[in-house]
Amino acid sequence: MIIAKPKPIEEIIELVKDLKSVLVAGCDGCVTVCEAGGMKEAQVLASALRMYFRQQGKDARVDETSLTRQCDRPYIAQLDDQIEKYDAVVSLACGAGVQFLAERFSKKPIFPGVNTCFIGVTEQKGEWTERCQACGDCILATTGGICPIARCSKRMANGPCGGSSSGKCEISKETACGWHLIYERLKELGQLDRFERPNDPKNWATSRDGGPRKIIKEVSQV
């Protein structure tokens, strides 16, 4: 899923402090699971903003809601008849949701309430780690199911580098060396021959480098 992190409340206050009415819109998708922008976080933020306005002596309206997904039109359309009541929306969805709201409600400022960080997994309750960079051309079959693009700090195709030490990355002792993990996994799988085969320069055109991406599945189109 997409992992996000709530923006510091002072940053959000700076965005909305002069407004009279604000809607805090959560998203029931990824950001709910990573506890950054679901209904719960929307309620907490809205409550905090109400208290902020209240103690500033301002009579501002702050409501909260949460949409099933902010990355699908039918769900964001649910705001169509409410949006006029608000000066702005603070969306707690990932960057995709924020932009989709902004596209639909072109005259309404839509502010991001979270920082969208990466595609990752839940390590344990309250801890999420990165796994995928969405390069558009998956090589996991050749790297023991561990992605060197997401998990090597230099996204090397033929690691580990000389800075790797005892399975840790040179940038931090907290960070596992992706290529060390790949080596160990390939060994477990009896595929160490893969490790010694040089990987050619990658085609990055399928990644963000090739420009904004689009996928069409014709059979699904109406």
Binding site: P201, K202, W204, D209
Partner: protein, 314 residues
């Protein structure tokens, strides 16, 4: 970052334009191989007729002999190079390092560009960097020069002294964005502007008028970009295939009106006429003649435009 756009540098091009003369530049595209003599041959064709020579940086995202090495060659020949730098291929570490390297060889002009997307070039599968964009590159060079600091804040004992340039396209749509974007680049610190090649004189004059209305021509030297048409085929290609290029029908018709073997001559004539006309346009402070793989014609154009001999400055 300070807002002083008139910072003096050892650049001859700057001194000439600051003294009120029209500046003249041309460009030299390095080869797609390691033969540095090609750069020298091209520079020799144009060197005495221009104040400074632009050296392109992997133009259209095609790998070529690097701009920095070619600039050093040109500098060592006694001509003045303009180091073009695109932010597509190197991050802020690499670019700052190259700027220092250029300065260490006495290179005092830079043209800061974002660069064409690599999908247009010969390595479409490459990663793109774009750590900075052209405006941020301008800010960076300015900070290095005026504050003697790297982007990290590290203070240098010897700082590069660059006359900072950038490009502007007066023709890309929508028109209204163009002057605003130029204003932004000048606010960032651009001191000279080389425009996209001009064919639509009316539209250029309209743009120039807006530039003058905002007083931008007093903050930076605007150099009109010109590329002589070699043939009717080239004109049609430029009109239909090159993004952001504005070639009016009148240009096509004029070239079509002369026999094929006279079209090149007509193209040169048109270019010279443009120079004459542009000299009268308020705010135009120089000419950037991009004779693509036709460098030998630059002397004729410069002379025909009444821009020769080039003024001498200290």
């Amino acid at each position: 970052m300070s807002t002083n756009n008139s910072a003096k540098t050892p650049s001859k091009l700057q001194k000439i334009m600051d003294a009120g003369h029209f500046g003249v530049t041309s460009e030299c595209g390095p080869p797609r191989g390691a033969d540095g003599r090609i750069v020298e041959e091209k520079a020799n064709l144009i060197g005495d007729y221009v104040d400074a020579i632009n050296v392109t940086d992997n133009q259209t995202a095609v790998v070529r002999l690097c701009s920095l090495a070619a600039c050093i060659r040109i500098k060592q020949m006694g001509f003045e190079p303009i180091l073009q730098m695109v932010s597509r291929d190197r991050n802020r570490i690499g670019m700052q390092a190259d700027i220092l390297g250029a300065a260490s060889f006495g290179i005092h002009n830079m043209l800061c560009l974002t660069g064409d997307h690599q999908s247009f070039g010969d390595h479409p599968t490459a990663v793109n960097v774009f750590d900075l964009d052209s405006t941020q590159l301008i800010q960076t060079v300015k900070m290095m020069r005026d504050e003697k600091k790297l982007l990290s804040g590290f203070e240098m004992k010897v700082a590069p002294e660059m006359f900072i340039g950038c490009a502007a396209n007066p023709f890309a749509d929508p028109f209204e964005i163009r002057v605003a974007r130029l204003a932004k680049k000048i606010a960032a610190g651009a001191q000279f502007i080389q425009t996209q090649c001009i064919y639509n004189m009316d539209k250029f004059k309209l743009w120039m008028q807006q530039v003058v209305d905002r007083g931008l021509h007093e903050k930076a030297h605007i150099m009109a970009g010109l590329t002589p048409m070699k043939s009717l085929g080239m004109a049609k290609y430029m009109k239909n295939k090159v993004p952001g290029m504005d070639v009016p029908d009148s240009v096509i018709e004029r070239l079509a009106g002369v026999p094929k073997d006279k079209q090149a001559e007509e193209g040169i004539k048109m270019c010279i006429e443009q120079i004459q006309e542009l000299k009268e346009v308020e705010g135009v402070r120089g000419f950037h003649i991009m004779a693509i793989e036709w460098e030998e014609k630059v002397p004729e154009i410069v002379k025909g435009g009444g821009l020769y001999p080039r003024p001498k400055v200290d």
